[in-house]
């Protein structure tokens, strides 16, 4: 297995998908010759030609609407929204159209669309570039929301998303793009959608997390182990729908839970996870469910991001609080 960055794993997945199925099309602002503003599509335009990997006019609503239309000609669009904050421009296509179309056509039509977009803070981007808006997507029935936390998953989940006949919002963590390197299996493989991973086993407490926050939770778990606290970390991978089975097994084992997200308290996935746990596994719980999140302000402009974003120490503190609760 080769060691790759998160972004290289994404590029490789796109490459393999384009190679395997000629109906796959990759498009968005600057994804062509320039290879995307982060170079996620680097080299693909040269390899597959500008009919399959192409730049669009600067119009997100058109990118999304066009993706929907292309499915009628049996294409499998993989569209890029340059930064997730620009998703609002295409919300009609995504939330009012893509998400509902299978239902509207009474399950006689499929919408195999992948919406790729970078999200997440800590890289000092200008405003509207880093927001964690996954909650908006997850609250929309009909959208599957995938948020890989490491290179191997990034590749396998993207290939699974492109194979899926349902629309998938595939969110790439900006900070992970080049900061994380790990082993990535060779060749074509898929990582199942809707299945959480046990990223680390432990027995005293479960942390449920997703996306860019998983790395912080794993670091927190390492630190806590030195203090004699054994932490299990669940990486949701798909944040909508939620894999309650994997969460349940872990909660039954540890009896204590902290849910950690980068998004604001009212904005992410944590509240859904907490609700599912309390509805289903309340009798396994030995303490209230703890939550780590950013505060409920608008996402701040870059400068004080690191004070605002939840950090490893915040996870450590919350875990201790829940472990010490009787």
């Amino acid at each position: 297995m080769a060691v790759k960055t998160y972004i290289a794993a994404i590029t490789e997945a796109l490459d393999l998908a384009l190679e395997r199925d000629e109906n796959v099309l990759v498009f968005g602002e600057d994804v062509g010759e320039n290879g995307g503003v982060f170079r996620a599509t680097e080299g693909l335009n040269a390899k597959y030609g500008k009919d399959r990997v192409f730049n669009t006019p600067l119009a997100e609503s058109a990118i999304g609407g066009m993706a929907i239309g292309l499915t009628t000609e049996d294409f499998r669009p993989v569209m890029e929204i340059q930064f997730f904050g620009f998703i609002f421009e295409v919300m009609d296509s995504i939330a009012a159209q893509m998400a509902r179309n299978r239902f509207r056509f009474s399950a006689t039509k499929q919408f195999p669309i992948v919406v790729r977009s970078p999200y997440g803070g800590g890289t000092h981007t200008p405003e509207m570039h880093a927001d964690n808006l996954e909650g908006l997507m997850a609250q929309t029935p009909g959208l599957r929301v995938v948020m890989p936390s490491n290179p191997a998953d990034a590749k396998g989940l993207l290939l699974a998303a492109i194979e899926s006949n349902d629309p998938v919002i595939y969110l790439e963590n900006l900070k992970l793009y080049r900061s994380v390197k790990a082993e990535v299996p060779e060749g074509y493989y898929t990582t199942p959608l809707d299945k959480a991973a046990v990223a680390r086993e432990g027995s005293d407490i479960t942390i449920v997390s997703y996306g860019g926050m998983v790395g912080n939770c794993l670091k927190a778990a390492e630190n806590l182990e030195k203090e004699g606290i054994s932490v299990e970390v669940i990486d949701l991978r798909t944040v909508s729908p939620i894999d309650v089975e994997t969460i349940g097994k872990s909660v039954e084992k540890t009896g204590r839970v902290v849910v950690a997200q980068e998004a604001q308290r009212q904005a992410g996935i944590a509240s859904s996870i907490m609700a599912e746990i309390s509805e289903r596994f309340i009798l396994s719980l030995k303490a209230p469910i703890g939550r780590v999140s950013a505060p409920d302000s608008v996402y701040p402009f870059s400068m004080a991001e690191n004070d605002w974003l939840p950090q490893v120490d915040d996870v450590v503190a919350k875990v201790k609080e829940i472990v010490e609760y009787d």
Binding site: E29, D30, G32, E33, N34, G35, V37, N55, P57, L58, A59, S61, A62, G85, F86, F88, E89, H124, T125, P126, E127, M128, H129, R265, Q266, P295, D296, S297, V298, P300, F301, S302, M303, A304, E305, D307, W308
Partner: protein, 369 residues
């Protein structure tokens, strides 16, 4: 009886479209007047000419310093403006303090020309909230969401009309921005209400890496204004006099209750899209960039003013030194602004925070954040 065959001649219509938008030029590349008649009619005073030059030089120096500061990591987001001095500063000179500016992220020079302090522009670049406090200057912060400034400008323009004001809302986007639905919706809505607006599309050839011809097969982006039923023109965006005169005439038209005008300025972004890692040579040639330098708005205007005895190397150097020291002060002032607090972010989100937010404010205040 219609002239059916003529109407159905699509090819002829495409050719006609190309002819409908001749480019307004006043100064040629060598700084000579090519439209004496228009220049005379416009009645620009010597003071105005010098002031326009000064604004362009100030923009030039600010760009030099900002790009350097960005390279040193002392600024955050910086979008270079080299090549757009006429399109930005010379147009903005046509507006008054009462006119309202709705800038895009590259339109910092117009904000500064309007009186927005440079140190605040630096704070905006760094992502400090004080950089988004406009004070009495009639401008908004630089818009990140491309197109949003057009629809909002339509609202300001309508508001001004309803209040009976003799002022306009003016706003800028790029050739890329001209593809956004909001851009069209803004022009169309302002047009429908005959609101006091002047719209600019700064066609600088590229939207990040995407060339102009991929944005639209319309031969002229100005033609998009026709769809909204508003007068629309193309201007040499590297000719300060053409830019100024066009903006001034458009303002007069809009202020007199005739409705909005669209101006497409043909210019070039001589430097990268932003200072965050864009390399123009991935998508354009060196020769192309060099060819555009021949149209440099600063050189054209300098030669023209020198010919009139209004400008000299000496004046230019003195003025540049003045601007440089103004910028030194602004850097110091920005550096002295206290760090932002998380508790302030929460306070700035709502006038009346609820229980959970109050709890968060207390927590962060307790931690000194």
């Amino acid at each position: 009886m219609t002239k059916g065959l003529e109407i159905l001649d699509f090819k002829k219509q495409m050719e006609a479209q190309d002819l409908e938008f001749p480019t307004l030029e006043v100064l040629d590349n060598d700084g000579k007047l090519v439209d004496q008649e228009l220049f005379d009619e416009a009645g620009i005073s010597d003071d105005d000419l010098v002031n326009i030059m000064k604004l362009m030089i100030r923009q030039y120096v600010l760009n030099e310093r900002s790009t350097k500061l960005a390279k040193q990591g002392r600024l955050g987001f910086v979008a270079p403006t080299r090549g757009q001095e006429a399109s930005q500063s010379a147009t903005s000179y046509a507006f008054t303090d009462d006119d309202f500016l709705m800038p895009g992220y590259r339109d910092i020079p117009q904000m500064i020309n309007k009186g927005f302090p440079i140190y605040k522009a630096f704070l905006w670049s760094r992502g400090h909230q004080i950089g988004n406090q406009m004070g009495d200057v009639k401008t908004w912060f630089p818009q990140i969401i491309i197109g949003a400034q057009f629809v909002q400008a339509a609202g300001i323009a309508l508001g001004m009309k309803m209040r009976g004001k003799k002022s306009v809302a003016y706003t800028y986007t790029g050739d890329g921005g001209s593809s956004q639905g909001d851009t069209y919706e803004g022009m169309n809505t302002a047009g429908a209400y005959k609101a006091n607006a002047v719209f600019f599309i700064q066609n600088n050839g590229f939207a990040i890496s995407t060339p102009r011809n991929l944005q639209s097969s319309a031969p002229h982006l100005a033609s998009k204004g026709w769809g909204a039923g508003i007068p629309s023109i193309v201007v040499d965006g590297m000719d300060a006099l053409a830019c100024y005169i066009a903006a001034k005439k458009a303002r007069e038209w809009a202020v007199s209750g005739n409705g909005p005008v669209l101006i497409e300025t043909l210019c070039d972004r001589l430097e990268p899209h932003s200072m965050s890692g864009d390399d123009p040579l991935r998508y354009r040639t060196k020769e192309d960039i060099e060819a555009w330098y021949k149209k440099d708005p600063l050189i054209r205007m300098r030669i023209f003013l020198e010919g009139k005895g209004l400008w000299s190397t000496d004046i230019e150097e003195k003025y540049m030194a003045e601007v440089n020291s103004e910028i030194d002060d602004a850097v110091k002032q920005a550096d002295n602004v206290p760090k932002q607090k998380v508790s302030d972010f929460i306070k700035n989100t709502f006038e009346q925070p609820g229980f959970i937010m109050e709890e968060q404010i207390k927590k962060f205040e307790g931690e000194g954040k």
